[in-house]
């Protein structure tokens, strides 16, 4: 009881102060509005089937549900070479705040002492947005896919390896790879496996995957967002699918097709012919009446 009264008294004393505070605060509001909004950079490393490397970048602002891309802004991509920064490219974000840098297969990134490629992405901000940066590090892993048939069972074999400075293969174990087939909208994944100490993962390819009319399919092997190796995708075309006959007879006579069932056309024709024949016969007779009158 005492406590509430005390609280009330306190409140009575404090509330004018709060009010004043509020007014002050509200006048200060325009200053606050100029406070720059935070931005966020995300970057992903990916290796494409043609061995091109791709660094995808997304620049966003806002939090939670109001998150949105920052468009038309410059993003600088650089790499670290022997303690000095090497600027690689300046990219412009699109309407979604996205952009990407493609890197040709033979371009060799400088590596740090642990063998990692270090990529820095910087956004310098502007009048209303704060600067932000992001660093990603990755190792250059190679996946090699071979398609074999052993005892009429189809296998997709994946070899994961890094290349040392002399170009020798260093097998990498415990790499989770996904194997699937390319479908219209995305990849249908069928099996997952881990590479062994020789860097090899072998997966059985099912027999009942539909291909095109000659059974051609595109096998996709993917390492998905690995901490060190990023995303790597490999594809290969082969006739391992079941051939699907796509020649649908679209010109069948049907109620919903373009041409009607024959019986329908025949009956309509017969009925109409019968009716109109008799009708014209009657008209002919009346025509004769007129002729008789003229005689």
């Amino acid at each position: 009881m005492m406590k509430t009264i005390f609280n009330n008294q306190i409140m009575q004393l404090v509330s004018p102060l709060i009010l004043v505070g509020c007014i002050l605060f509200s006048t200060a509001a325009p200053v606050n509005a100029q406070k720059k909004e935070r931005t966020r950079l995300k970057a992903y490393y990916e290796k494409l089937p043609n061995n091109n490397k791709k660094i995808s970048i997304i620049l966003t602002q806002g939090k939670g549900k109001s998150i949105s891309g920052v468009q038309n802004s410059e993003v600088i991509v650089s790499t670290v070479a022997a303690d000095s920064t090497l600027e690689l490219a300046t990219l412009i974000t699109d309407s979604q705040g996205e952009t990407a840098l493609y890197v040709e297969p033979d371009y060799s990134f400088p590596k740090n002492e642990e063998g990692y490629v270090v990529i820095n992405v910087n956004y310098n901000g502007n009048d209303s947005l704060r600067a932000s940066k992001r660093k990603i590090e990755f190792l250059d892993l190679n996946l090699e896919v071979s398609l074999n048939i052993i005892d009429s069972v189809k296998y997709v074999e994946v070899e994961a390896f890094e290349l040392d400075n002399e170009g020798n293969k260093l097998p990498i174990e415990e790499i989770d790879v996904n194997m699937g087939v390319k479908r219209l909208y995305n990849t249908l994944f069928l099996e997952e496996a881990e590479t062994d100490e020789e860097g090899i993962a072998s997966m059985e390819f099912p027999d009942n995957i539909p291909g095109d009319s000659s059974g051609m399919i595109t096998v996709v092997v993917k390492l998905d967002e690995h901490d060190d190796y990023g995303t790597i995708t490999k594809t290969a075309d082969i006739d391992w699918g079941t051939a699907v006959d796509y020649s649908i007879a679209s010109n069948d006579r049907s109620l919903f097709g373009d041409s009607a069932p024959l019986w329908m056309i025949i009956s309509v024709a017969v009925i109409l012919f019968g009716a109109w024949f008799n009708f014209l016969l009657a008209v002919y007779k009346v025509y004769q009446i007129k002729k008789l009158a003229n005689d």
Binding site: V286, I289, K290
Partner: protein
């Protein structure tokens, strides 16, 4: 020539129609034209503003218009069917009403299809129906049937006028007609001089036409029924629909003939032509048809009701619920299936007036029955309608639809008014044969022509 005493007498009786218009005539014509113009205005609004100003929505895509379409075409087919049967059956007493039947046929066949055009969202593309028809569609069946039937019936009606036109041509002096009329009769009488050879040819032509019009109308109205029956809809998807439609068409046709006969009898003092026995004959036909109708109605509903499939259950609920379609449902059943049996079946009630009244009631009941056959079914799809807009859930016709419906009736009456100025409403030249022994010549003799 044609100095047939009966025909002359009948022509005189018809003079009241044929002569200079009376004041009452003028007033009613002006009133009807006004109603028709209101309909034209409504049509103008519908075309410029779109179908949203009608009561039609995504579920009840056709409303009063399709009810009118079905009802009016029913009258038309009935007229042709009854006329054809009477003609081939050489039913002597029915000769005076032959012309009315044929006029009903033609006028309603002209007016009816307009109501389906009113349902079209794009009337500007109407000719696509003829340019790119799909024979699988019941609408195309209807287009073919209506066009065929319209041509047949107009020609049939005209052929039955030939003798009368000849008579009028020959009596043009006595009836002091204007020149254009004389010319009109001379051309359209086709030089018919009542020679035995001509008469034989004409009778043969009429027999052939009557014989093909009977199946044509039955097929045409069945096709119209299949416009509904071919839908996968509870309440429509019924094999009884085609015969049921044909029967209700004949039923409505008989009722309308009684009504029109009575109007002519009253306004033209044609008591000697349209006698009490005409009314009692047709009254009995009406009663028999009402019983048949009840039989069909019952068969249609009992088969669905007995099993009460889920969606049909909700439809049935709407029919029985007094706050929804209950009143309309019960009263239409009473008017169509019980009233004629009571009024005409029990001698104490039976009179010309009561028969005419019953006919009017039957027509109203049949229109309501068509409405109940169409609108509640459209309001009851398989999937529940979960729409917050009440007009999207339940159909109610707007003034646009009502005034266009009235315009159709007005036009129908106007057609009758004008045609009875042109030629007698009874086939006067056929009437003389009533006195003679009617030659029952059922063999069509088409081969010997």
């Amino acid at each position: 020539m044609s100095s047939n005493p009966l025909a002359n007498q009948l022509l005189d009786e018809n003079k009241s129609f044929m002569e200079k218009p009376s004041f009452r005539w003028k007033v009613s014509v002006v009133a009807l034209i006004a109603i028709f113009c209101l309909g034209l205005y409504a049509l103008f609004l519908q075309i410029t503003e779109g179908h949203l100003i009608t009561g039609m929505r995504d579920h009840v895509v056709w409303g009063v218009y399709i009810v009118n379409f079905v009802f009016i075409l029913g009258l038309s087919y009935a007229g042709a069917l009854i006329a054809g049967i009477f003609h081939l059956g050489r039913v002597k007493w029915a000769i005076p009403m032959q012309r009315i039947l044929k006029l009903i046929t033609v006028f309603s066949l002209i007016i009816g299809p307009f109501y389906i055009l009113l349902c079209l969202g794009r009337p500007d593309r109407i000719f696509d129906l003829f340019l790119y028809p799909r024979i699988q569609s019941p609408i195309i069946w209807d287009v073919i049937a209506i066009v065929t039937d319209l041509i047949f019936c107009i020609v049939y009606m005209y052929f039955t006028y030939i003798k009368d036109f000849a008579l009028l041509r020959d009596n043009s002096e006595r009836l002091n007609m204007s020149n254009w009329r004389k010319k009109f009769y001379r051309i359209f009488a086709l030089g018919y001089k009542n020679t035995p050879k001509q008469e034989k040819l004409l009778n043969q032509a009429l027999d052939i036409l009557a014989a093909i019009i009977i199946p044509t109308t039955i097929i045409a109205y069945s096709l119209l029924a299949w416009l509904f029956g071919m839908n996968l809809k509870v309440g429509w998807h019924s094999s009884i629909f085609a015969p049921f439609f044909v029967l209700s068409a004949v039923y409505s046709g008989v009722a309308l003939v009684i009504l029109i006969m009575w109007i002519y009898r009253k306004s033209g003092k044609l008591e000697n032509t349209f006698t009490d026995s005409h009314f009692t004959h047709l009254g009995f036909a009406l009663m028999v048809l009402s019983l048949f109708y009840g039989y069909f109605y019952f068969s249609d509903y009992i088969t669905d009701w007995y099993n009460m499939q889920k969606t049909y259950g909700s439809l049935w609920e709407k029919y029985l619920d007094l706050s929804q379609y209950g009143i309309a449902f019960y009263s239409s059943i009473f008017l169509i299936t019980f009233l004629p049996a009571i009024v005409i079946g029990i001698p104490w009630f039976r009179s010309v007036k009561s028969i005419v009244f019953t006919s009017g009631a039957v027509l109203v009941g049949l229109w309501v029955a068509r409405y109940l056959m169409i609108v509640p079914v459209l309001e009851t799809p398989y999937l529940p309608i979960q729409d917050v807009r009440p007009d999207w859930v339940n159909y109610s016709a707007t003034w646009i639809e009502w005034s266009l419906s009235l315009a159709g009736i007005a036009l129908f009456i106007l057609f009758f008014i004008f045609i009875s100025k042109l030629a007698p409403i009874i086939p006067v030249s056929e009437m003389k044969e009533e006195q003679e022994e009617v030659k029952l010549d059922l063999s069509l003799k088409t081969d010997q022509a």
